[in-house]
Symmetry: C2
């Protein structure tokens, strides 16, 4: 269920943020497909990102992402099938598996970042450099506030 097509000006500011996030998400999936990663859904990205820093355990990822371990396990299974990640037994802990990026996974992450930067570039074109920086500042303020 998406957003009704109301006059934008009549909406609350939080609603505007939701709308913008929505419109991004749709466009992102399109760009993914265009980049040849048809089996990579937008929801997979947040899992892939922290793997850039090195192999991680599923449990650690689950805690970091704020979801259940099963959610991670299922997503990892899908990503493994698509050759984006591989799971190898942790040499230091026989129970655990290390989830690591494959070269294809790394390539997909590059595409993702490029896509995000393309959107940012589009915003820069719409707003200008100064306003884009201002937007960034405001977003960071809201994200880092105590509440």
């Amino acid at each position: 269920m998406v957003d009704p097509s109301w006059p934008v000006d009549a909406r609350t500011t939080p609603a505007l943020v939701q709308m913008l996030a929505r419109s991004q998400a749709t466009g992102l999936a399109t760009r993914f497909a265009a980049a040849g990663h048809t089996d990579l859904r937008p929801g997979h990205a947040p899992l892939l990102v922290p793997l850039l820093a090195g192999g991680r355990h599923a449990s650690d990822l689950a805690e970091e992402l704020g979801v259940s371990r099963q959610a991670v396990a299922q997503t990892v299974a899908a990503l493994e099938k698509g050759d984006y990640v591989e799971r190898v037994t942790d040499p230091g802990d026989g129970r655990a598996k290390l989830i690591r990026l494959t070269p294809r996974g790394r390539s997909a992450l590059r595409t993702m970042r490029a896509t995000a930067l393309a959107v940012e570039e589009q915003w820069r074109a719409s707003l200008g450099e100064a306003r884009l920086r201002e937007l960034r500042t405001l977003l960071v303020m809201l994200l880092t506030e105590p509440g």
Copy 2:
């Protein structure tokens, strides 16, 4: 799958928008529950909103929201069970049902708007009036741009 807890500053601006939208959504569900609408999920709100203007057909709602008629039908069924909306046969069209807000539905919408305004107020407290207005302006610019 949510966002990894990265340093905020290292992220692209579109990613920041996603993070903010996410953090809102979680907080919103909490406030709903606190207002006694435990059976009302965040996803139901977009359907309820256009009903404020009067009874609507499910098909019209589906088109307006950009989802299938079944998605609307299923959501309406849930909302009807919770006495947020009622479905009455359209006097002018025997096939169609008019979906209308009940008093409880109207009350829920008031709660929603109040919740959104509370978040906005919190943002005002964080940013100050001038910066909040600037944020609004920037969001509206991005939402109304041609692309």
